[in-house]
Symmetry: C2
Subunit: 159 residues, 2 copies
Protein backbone atom coordinates (compact mmCIF):
# COMPACT_ATOMS: atom_id res chain seq x y z
CA UNK A 1 0.00 0.00 0.00
CA UNK A 2 1.32 3.44 -0.96
CA UNK A 3 1.74 5.84 1.94
CA UNK A 4 1.27 9.56 2.34
CA UNK A 5 4.46 11.65 2.29
CA UNK A 6 4.33 14.99 4.12
CA UNK A 7 7.18 17.44 3.45
CA UNK A 8 7.70 20.59 5.51
CA UNK A 9 11.12 22.13 4.91
CA UNK A 10 12.39 24.14 7.90
CA UNK A 11 11.89 27.89 7.48
CA UNK A 12 9.53 27.58 4.52
CA UNK A 13 5.83 28.62 4.62
CA UNK A 14 4.78 25.51 2.66
CA UNK A 15 3.61 21.95 3.31
CA UNK A 16 3.65 19.42 0.46
CA UNK A 17 1.59 16.23 0.67
CA UNK A 18 1.94 13.47 -1.93
CA UNK A 19 0.35 10.07 -2.30
CA UNK A 20 -0.08 7.63 -5.16
CA UNK A 21 -3.38 5.82 -5.65
CA UNK A 22 -4.14 2.67 -7.63
CA UNK A 23 -7.04 4.34 -9.42
CA UNK A 24 -7.58 6.37 -12.58
CA UNK A 25 -7.16 10.13 -12.37
CA UNK A 26 -10.79 10.93 -13.20
CA UNK A 27 -12.02 8.91 -10.22
CA UNK A 28 -9.52 10.52 -7.82
CA UNK A 29 -10.63 13.93 -9.14
CA UNK A 30 -14.30 13.04 -8.67
CA UNK A 31 -13.58 12.03 -5.06
CA UNK A 32 -12.37 15.61 -4.51
CA UNK A 33 -15.23 17.55 -6.07
CA UNK A 34 -18.29 15.34 -5.47
CA UNK A 35 -19.39 16.11 -1.89
CA UNK A 36 -21.04 12.67 -1.55
CA UNK A 37 -17.64 11.05 -2.13
CA UNK A 38 -15.59 13.70 -0.28
CA UNK A 39 -17.55 13.19 2.94
CA UNK A 40 -16.50 9.52 2.95
CA UNK A 41 -12.74 10.13 3.20
CA UNK A 42 -11.98 13.67 4.38
CA UNK A 43 -10.50 14.03 7.87
CA UNK A 44 -9.39 11.75 10.67
CA UNK A 45 -11.23 8.49 11.33
CA UNK A 46 -13.85 8.74 14.05
CA UNK A 47 -15.01 12.23 13.07
CA UNK A 48 -18.27 12.67 11.20
CA UNK A 49 -18.08 15.19 8.37
CA UNK A 50 -21.19 17.11 7.34
CA UNK A 51 -21.06 19.30 4.25
CA UNK A 52 -22.80 22.63 4.60
CA UNK A 53 -22.10 23.81 1.04
CA UNK A 54 -19.76 22.69 -1.72
CA UNK A 55 -19.78 24.65 -4.98
CA UNK A 56 -16.83 23.23 -6.92
CA UNK A 57 -16.55 25.97 -9.55
CA UNK A 58 -14.50 29.15 -10.06
CA UNK A 59 -15.36 31.45 -7.15
CA UNK A 60 -17.55 28.83 -5.50
CA UNK A 61 -17.46 28.47 -1.73
CA UNK A 62 -17.44 25.42 0.48
CA UNK A 63 -17.97 24.74 4.17
CA UNK A 64 -18.01 21.56 6.22
CA UNK A 65 -18.21 20.65 9.89
CA UNK A 66 -16.44 17.74 11.58
CA UNK A 67 -17.91 16.35 14.79
CA UNK A 68 -16.07 14.13 17.25
CA UNK A 69 -17.46 11.45 19.59
CA UNK A 70 -17.81 14.03 22.41
CA UNK A 71 -19.98 16.26 20.22
CA UNK A 72 -17.30 18.93 19.63
CA UNK A 73 -17.71 20.58 16.23
CA UNK A 74 -14.92 21.95 14.02
CA UNK A 75 -15.88 24.15 11.07
CA UNK A 76 -13.82 24.77 7.95
CA UNK A 77 -14.52 26.88 4.88
CA UNK A 78 -12.88 28.19 1.73
CA UNK A 79 -13.23 29.43 -1.83
CA UNK A 80 -12.30 27.73 -5.12
CA UNK A 81 -10.02 29.80 -7.35
CA UNK A 82 -10.24 28.82 -11.01
CA UNK A 83 -12.26 25.96 -12.48
CA UNK A 84 -11.34 22.78 -10.54
CA UNK A 85 -9.77 20.21 -12.90
CA UNK A 86 -7.47 17.20 -12.53
CA UNK A 87 -4.62 19.56 -13.55
CA UNK A 88 -5.31 21.82 -10.56
CA UNK A 89 -7.77 22.29 -7.74
CA UNK A 90 -6.91 25.64 -6.13
CA UNK A 91 -8.75 26.71 -3.00
CA UNK A 92 -8.36 28.68 0.18
CA UNK A 93 -8.82 26.90 3.50
CA UNK A 94 -9.72 28.37 6.89
CA UNK A 95 -10.25 26.57 10.20
CA UNK A 96 -12.93 28.55 11.99
CA UNK A 97 -11.23 27.88 15.35
CA UNK A 98 -8.37 30.25 14.38
CA UNK A 99 -9.93 33.06 12.32
CA UNK A 100 -7.58 35.21 10.25
CA UNK A 101 -5.25 32.34 9.38
CA UNK A 102 -5.74 31.38 5.74
CA UNK A 103 -4.08 28.69 3.64
CA UNK A 104 -3.94 28.49 -0.15
CA UNK A 105 -4.04 24.86 -1.35
CA UNK A 106 -3.11 23.63 -4.82
CA UNK A 107 -3.85 19.96 -5.62
CA UNK A 108 -2.62 18.38 -8.85
CA UNK A 109 -3.37 14.86 -10.10
CA UNK A 110 -0.90 13.17 -12.43
CA UNK A 111 -1.78 9.99 -14.34
CA UNK A 112 0.88 7.24 -14.20
CA UNK A 113 0.00 4.00 -16.05
CA UNK A 114 -3.49 3.86 -14.60
CA UNK A 115 -2.32 5.02 -11.20
CA UNK A 116 -2.62 8.60 -9.97
CA UNK A 117 -0.09 10.73 -8.12
CA UNK A 118 -1.85 13.30 -5.93
CA UNK A 119 0.20 16.31 -4.82
CA UNK A 120 -1.12 19.09 -2.59
CA UNK A 121 0.92 22.19 -1.79
CA UNK A 122 -0.38 24.35 1.07
CA UNK A 123 0.91 27.93 1.09
CA UNK A 124 0.77 29.83 4.40
CA UNK A 125 0.80 33.52 5.29
CA UNK A 126 4.03 33.01 7.25
CA UNK A 127 6.48 30.36 8.44
CA UNK A 128 4.95 30.79 11.93
CA UNK A 129 1.52 29.86 10.57
CA UNK A 130 2.98 26.83 8.79
CA UNK A 131 4.74 25.72 11.98
CA UNK A 132 1.50 26.26 13.92
CA UNK A 133 -0.33 23.96 11.52
CA UNK A 134 2.31 21.23 11.99
CA UNK A 135 2.12 21.66 15.79
CA UNK A 136 -1.67 21.33 15.70
CA UNK A 137 -1.29 17.67 14.81
CA UNK A 138 -2.54 17.94 11.22
CA UNK A 139 -0.39 14.95 10.24
CA UNK A 140 -2.78 12.46 11.85
CA UNK A 141 -5.74 13.82 9.86
CA UNK A 142 -3.77 13.94 6.62
CA UNK A 143 -2.62 10.31 6.96
CA UNK A 144 -6.10 9.08 7.89
CA UNK A 145 -7.59 11.01 4.95
CA UNK A 146 -5.14 9.39 2.53
CA UNK A 147 -5.89 5.89 3.86
CA UNK A 148 -9.63 6.53 3.76
CA UNK A 149 -9.44 7.88 0.20
CA UNK A 150 -7.54 4.74 -0.86
CA UNK A 151 -10.31 2.59 0.69
CA UNK A 152 -13.04 4.65 -0.98
CA UNK A 153 -11.35 4.37 -4.40
CA UNK A 154 -11.09 0.58 -3.97
CA UNK A 155 -14.80 0.39 -3.10
CA UNK A 156 -15.72 2.51 -6.12
CA UNK A 157 -13.59 0.38 -8.47
CA UNK A 158 -15.07 -2.87 -7.06
CA UNK A 159 -18.68 -1.78 -7.40
CA UNK B 1 9.76 61.07 2.02
CA UNK B 2 9.51 57.46 3.20
CA UNK B 3 10.15 54.89 0.50
CA UNK B 4 8.73 51.50 -0.25
CA UNK B 5 10.87 48.52 0.78
CA UNK B 6 10.35 45.29 -1.15
CA UNK B 7 11.86 42.12 0.33
CA UNK B 8 12.06 38.85 -1.59
CA UNK B 9 14.38 36.35 0.10
CA UNK B 10 15.93 33.88 -2.37
CA UNK B 11 14.17 30.51 -2.38
CA UNK B 12 11.14 31.71 -0.42
CA UNK B 13 7.58 31.88 -1.87
CA UNK B 14 6.94 35.27 -0.23
CA UNK B 15 7.27 38.97 -1.06
CA UNK B 16 7.08 41.53 1.77
CA UNK B 17 6.34 45.19 1.03
CA UNK B 18 6.61 47.85 3.74
CA UNK B 19 6.13 51.60 3.72
CA UNK B 20 5.51 54.20 6.39
CA UNK B 21 2.98 56.98 5.77
CA UNK B 22 2.60 60.31 7.55
CA UNK B 23 -1.11 59.74 8.11
CA UNK B 24 -3.33 58.16 10.75
CA UNK B 25 -4.05 54.47 10.48
CA UNK B 26 -7.80 54.89 9.93
CA UNK B 27 -7.22 57.01 6.84
CA UNK B 28 -4.68 54.56 5.38
CA UNK B 29 -7.17 51.77 6.03
CA UNK B 30 -9.98 53.72 4.35
CA UNK B 31 -7.75 54.24 1.29
CA UNK B 32 -7.62 50.43 1.01
CA UNK B 33 -11.29 49.59 1.34
CA UNK B 34 -13.09 52.60 -0.16
CA UNK B 35 -13.06 52.01 -3.94
CA UNK B 36 -13.30 55.76 -4.64
CA UNK B 37 -9.99 56.27 -2.81
CA UNK B 38 -8.37 53.02 -3.98
CA UNK B 39 -8.80 53.91 -7.64
CA UNK B 40 -6.73 57.06 -7.08
CA UNK B 41 -3.53 55.30 -6.03
CA UNK B 42 -3.54 51.64 -7.07
CA UNK B 43 -1.13 50.64 -9.82
CA UNK B 44 1.54 52.28 -11.93
CA UNK B 45 1.18 55.90 -13.00
CA UNK B 46 -0.27 56.31 -16.48
CA UNK B 47 -2.73 53.44 -16.17
CA UNK B 48 -6.40 54.15 -15.59
CA UNK B 49 -8.01 51.85 -13.03
CA UNK B 50 -11.72 51.08 -13.26
CA UNK B 51 -13.36 49.14 -10.46
CA UNK B 52 -15.82 46.51 -11.59
CA UNK B 53 -16.82 45.38 -8.08
CA UNK B 54 -15.37 45.86 -4.61
CA UNK B 55 -17.16 44.22 -1.68
CA UNK B 56 -14.79 44.75 1.25
CA UNK B 57 -16.30 42.24 3.64
CA UNK B 58 -15.67 38.61 4.65
CA UNK B 59 -16.13 36.51 1.50
CA UNK B 60 -16.68 39.59 -0.65
CA UNK B 61 -15.16 39.67 -4.13
CA UNK B 62 -13.40 42.44 -6.01
CA UNK B 63 -12.36 43.01 -9.61
CA UNK B 64 -10.69 45.93 -11.35
CA UNK B 65 -9.30 46.64 -14.80
CA UNK B 66 -6.24 48.75 -15.59
CA UNK B 67 -5.98 50.34 -19.03
CA UNK B 68 -2.80 51.72 -20.55
CA UNK B 69 -2.38 54.56 -23.08
CA UNK B 70 -2.50 52.04 -25.97
CA UNK B 71 -5.87 50.73 -24.81
CA UNK B 72 -4.56 47.42 -23.47
CA UNK B 73 -6.61 46.18 -20.53
CA UNK B 74 -5.36 44.14 -17.57
CA UNK B 75 -7.93 42.52 -15.31
CA UNK B 76 -7.40 41.47 -11.68
CA UNK B 77 -9.74 39.87 -9.18
CA UNK B 78 -9.80 38.32 -5.74
CA UNK B 79 -11.75 37.45 -2.61
CA UNK B 80 -11.56 38.97 0.89
CA UNK B 81 -10.96 36.42 3.65
CA UNK B 82 -12.14 37.64 7.06
CA UNK B 83 -13.54 41.07 7.89
CA UNK B 84 -11.07 43.68 6.58
CA UNK B 85 -9.70 45.76 9.49
CA UNK B 86 -6.58 47.88 10.12
CA UNK B 87 -5.18 44.81 11.93
CA UNK B 88 -5.45 42.70 8.77
CA UNK B 89 -6.78 42.87 5.25
CA UNK B 90 -6.50 39.33 3.84
CA UNK B 91 -7.36 38.71 0.22
CA UNK B 92 -6.51 36.53 -2.73
CA UNK B 93 -5.20 38.17 -5.89
CA UNK B 94 -5.27 36.86 -9.46
CA UNK B 95 -4.01 38.53 -12.64
CA UNK B 96 -6.37 37.38 -15.36
CA UNK B 97 -3.46 37.26 -17.86
CA UNK B 98 -2.03 34.19 -16.09
CA UNK B 99 -5.00 32.14 -14.88
CA UNK B 100 -4.34 29.50 -12.25
CA UNK B 101 -1.69 31.55 -10.44
CA UNK B 102 -3.09 32.83 -7.16
CA UNK B 103 -1.53 34.99 -4.46
CA UNK B 104 -2.68 35.35 -0.87
CA UNK B 105 -2.04 38.89 0.43
CA UNK B 106 -2.05 39.97 4.08
CA UNK B 107 -1.84 43.71 4.78
CA UNK B 108 -1.40 45.01 8.32
CA UNK B 109 -1.39 48.67 9.42
CA UNK B 110 0.50 49.62 12.57
CA UNK B 111 0.03 53.03 14.23
CA UNK B 112 3.29 54.79 15.17
CA UNK B 113 2.87 58.25 16.80
CA UNK B 114 0.34 59.40 14.22
CA UNK B 115 2.23 57.71 11.39
CA UNK B 116 1.27 54.35 9.93
CA UNK B 117 3.48 51.44 8.97
CA UNK B 118 1.90 49.43 6.16
CA UNK B 119 3.15 45.87 5.67
CA UNK B 120 1.91 43.52 2.96
CA UNK B 121 3.01 39.89 2.75
CA UNK B 122 2.19 38.09 -0.49
CA UNK B 123 2.22 34.28 -0.28
CA UNK B 124 2.66 32.34 -3.52
CA UNK B 125 1.83 28.77 -4.57
CA UNK B 126 5.54 28.12 -5.22
CA UNK B 127 8.94 29.80 -5.32
CA UNK B 128 8.69 29.67 -9.14
CA UNK B 129 5.48 31.70 -9.02
CA UNK B 130 7.09 34.22 -6.68
CA UNK B 131 10.11 34.54 -8.98
CA UNK B 132 7.77 34.93 -11.96
CA UNK B 133 6.02 37.82 -10.23
CA UNK B 134 9.37 39.54 -9.59
CA UNK B 135 10.41 38.97 -13.22
CA UNK B 136 7.12 40.48 -14.46
CA UNK B 137 8.30 43.90 -13.27
CA UNK B 138 5.85 44.22 -10.38
CA UNK B 139 8.35 46.44 -8.54
CA UNK B 140 7.56 49.45 -10.73
CA UNK B 141 3.84 49.21 -10.00
CA UNK B 142 4.41 48.69 -6.27
CA UNK B 143 6.68 51.74 -5.99
CA UNK B 144 4.31 53.93 -8.01
CA UNK B 145 1.36 52.74 -5.89
CA UNK B 146 3.19 53.66 -2.68
CA UNK B 147 4.09 57.14 -3.98
CA UNK B 148 0.55 57.72 -5.25
CA UNK B 149 -0.94 56.57 -1.94
CA UNK B 150 1.32 59.01 -0.10
CA UNK B 151 0.10 61.81 -2.39
CA UNK B 152 -3.54 60.83 -1.91
CA UNK B 153 -3.16 60.77 1.89
CA UNK B 154 -1.59 64.25 1.82
CA UNK B 155 -4.51 65.55 -0.30
CA UNK B 156 -7.03 63.99 2.07
CA UNK B 157 -5.31 65.49 5.14
CA UNK B 158 -5.10 68.95 3.50
CA UNK B 159 -8.77 69.06 2.47
Amino acid sequence: MSKTVITAEPGMPLITITREFDAPRDLVFRAHIDPELLVQWLGPRGLITTIDRYDAHDGGTWRYVQKDADGNEYGFHGVFHGIPSPEAIVQTFEFEGVPGHVMLDTTTLEQRDGRTLMRTVSSFQSVEDRDGMIASGMEHGVRDSGDRLEELLARQLAS
